[in-house]
């Protein structure tokens, strides 16, 4: 079931302006961005509990909202399953009644059949008579999913499904939810601010930056060639510098990086309106000054500013000629070979220097 969303909505100072398409019937598309960027608002517009100022929302062959044609289907008729952040189970109903509340417009026998089916599918046997407050967070999530599935929706939308859960519970539930999404015949929208979750569970990703959606990417693209500053930051890129294109050399783009005080060559595709350059902390290579391999490009001589011993790795903050620090992360053993040096050479291969656009950002 394809989904097209193209809506605008003003709420006080905040403007939501999102547009994306989920073409594939079974695609799980992530809406990724920091909290407050408008991800949940987007879901509310699709569900119909919030009315956009203008735009169009089409699910399959049904127009859910079209400001020009004055179409605005009520949420009751949209057939969109919405997993709310805190699950929004009805507190005064039992597990069974909650699931039954998802099967609307069917006769009693069919409702009972669907409840039984979902109780089985989500392993809720034995919990039927309990109330939501008596369940663990994970059980609550399963009941909320069962309730949605009992309505046989055409699209499901998940709003930060793990935000209400403790860390150690999340992993089990994440695997379960992945299975649920795989077996669901329709598409899914997955709202998150967690890049790792998105990488593991979603096919495509649409980064939302202060209310504006960016071009949809595959999950692999987001991490290899994010193209915008917002996408690079949310995908976990730790090092960014203001930059401009300073020319071309040997089919490589030269980027003058102001904050780092160096010019770096990049072999990655050049987006329109480059304003920044990004370097991932894990991809840098660091050598003692005399040991840089011959032929290395983009060698930056840095002063060791600070070394932080982290859980499983060592993080070094290296001051660049421009003053800004580069964050470098490596295995503890690897760092042991470099320890004690006051100055080190950082090598950023042209394949990891990411030219980034969209730097009106104050990020």
């Amino acid at each position: 079931m394809s989904l097209t969303v193209d809506v605008r909505k003003r709420l006080g100072d905040f403007t939501l302006d999102v547009s994306f398409e989920v073409e594939d019937a079974r695609e799980t598309c992530a809406l990724l961005g920091p909290s407050g960027c408008g991800k949940s608002l987007t879901l509310k517009c699709v569900a119909g509990v919030l009315t956009p100022d203008e735009g169009r929302i089409v699910l399959g062959d049904r127009v859910l909202f079209d400001s020009e044609a004055r179409v605005n289907l009520p949420p009751q008729r949209r057939r969109v399953g919405y997993l709310f952040q805190q699950y929004a189970l009805f507190p005064t109903m039992t597990v069974e009644q909650n699931i039954a509340a998802g099967a609307v417009g069917v006769d009693r026998r069919e409702r009972a059949r669907r409840v039984a089916e979902q109780v089985r599918a989500f392993r809720l046997g034995g919990l039927e008579r309990l109330r939501p407050a008596q369940l663990s967070g994970g059980q609550q999530q399963r009941v909320a999913l069962a309730r949605i599935m009992a309505g046989e929706p055409e699209l499901i939308m998940l709003d930060e499904p793990f935000s209400a859960l403790d860390g150690h519970l999340r992993w089990e539930l994440e695997m379960e939810l992945t299975d649920t999404l795989r077996s669901f015949p329709g598409g899914a929208l997955y709202v998150s601010h967690n890049r790792d979750e998105v990488y593991r569970m979603c096919d495509t990703v649409c980064v939302i930056d202060r209310g504006r959606s960016e071009e949809k990417l595959t999950v692999a693209q987001l991490f290899s060639t994010p193209a915008t500053l917002a996408a690079a930051l949310i995908s976990g890129c730790k090092n960014v510098s203001a930059a401009r294109v300073a020319g071309e050399k040997d089919a490589l783009t030269l980027l003058a990086c102001a904050d780092w005080g160096v010019t770096l060559a990049s072999s990655l595709p050049l987006p329109e309106g480059v304003s920044h350059a990004g370097l991932r902390a894990h991809y840098l290579r660091v050598y003692r000054l005399g040991e840089v391999p011959s032929g290395a490009v983009n060698v930056v001589r840095c002063t060791v500013d600070r070394v932080i011993d982290s859980t499983f790795s060592t993080i070094a903050m290296l001051a660049t000629p421009g003053g800004a620090r580069l964050r470098y992360e490596c295995e503890k053993d690897a760092w042991a070979a470099l320890a004690g040096e006051r100055e080190l050479a950082v090598v950023a291969d042209p394949g990891i220097v990411m030219p980034l656009a969209g730097g009106g950002a104050d990020a």
Binding site: A47, R77, A88, F90, P91, T92, A101, G151
Partner: protein, 229 residues
């Protein structure tokens, strides 16, 4: 002892509580969802009887419902009803006076209600009516019941407006509170004292009932929180 004043007080309070319950819930739900300006104005109007002296309420009711006033004449003409000086005339007084208590507690309960639950009901395909009666009301029930109990207690004890609109006629418009005043005024101290004791007993029962409701609510939500951990 003639128990008529007690029976009369109880039926007046019961009928007025039923009216105030539906009126209060309906208007509270309306005000909670109204735009800010409308909300402010309506809230002042609906709460006014709480701060007005009951005699002012009684005076205003007489202006509206008196036998030579349009409403009073209409009722007499078409329904053959007298809206003053009858036992049921007291219902007008108790409804107006006890309404703000019901309205304000219901409004508080509705304001504390998590609207995402209503949105969840809607996205699952349920009508507004279903969402209200099956989700919103059950969630807010404790506050609403507390409001109804308060309104009942207030209606039971109403004196000022009641005495103005239906006076004191033994066996007809006499209520517990007007009887206490009448007996004391005529020097029947023993009779007045007996009715004072009845009044104290009723008030104690009502307060006990309210505390019981509250404690039950607290216990069940505490148990719920405990189980969630």
């Amino acid at each position: 002892m003639d128990w008529y004043p007690l029976v009369n007080s109880l039926r007046i309070a019961a009928i007025s509580t039923v009216i105030v319950f539906f009126l209060g819930v309906w208007l509270a739900n309306l005000v909670v969802r109204a735009p800010r300006l409308v909300k402010g104005v309506l809230d002042v109007i609906l709460t006014l009887p709480l701060v007005l002296p009951p005699t002012v309420v009684g005076y205003l009711l007489l202006i509206l419902l008196g036998p030579r006033r349009p409403l009073g004449m209409l009722a007499a003409e078409f329904l053959d009803l007298r809206l003053t000086m009858t036992w049921y005339a007291a219902i007008f007084a108790t409804v107006v006076v006890s309404f703000p208590l019901m309205y304000r507690t219901a409004r508080g309960a509705f304001e504390a209600f998590d609207e995402t639950l209503a949105d969840a009901g809607r996205t699952l395909g349920h009508s507004e009516r279903w969402v209200f009666w099956r989700v919103k009301m059950p969630c807010c029930l404790q506050g609403i019941v507390a409001g109804a109990v308060l309104a009942f207690a207030r209606a039971l004890g109403e004196y000022g407006a009641t005495s103005m609109i239906c006076g004191y006629t033994p066996g007809s418009t006499a209520t517990v509170s007007t009887t206490v005043y009448q007996l004391w005024r005529t020097g029947d101290d023993a009779g007045a004292f007996a009715w004072v004791m009845v009044n104290l007993a009723i008030s104690a029962v009502v307060l006990l009932a309210m505390n019981w409701f509250e404690a039950r609510g607290r216990a069940s939500s505490a148990a719920a929180r405990g189980a969630a951990r």
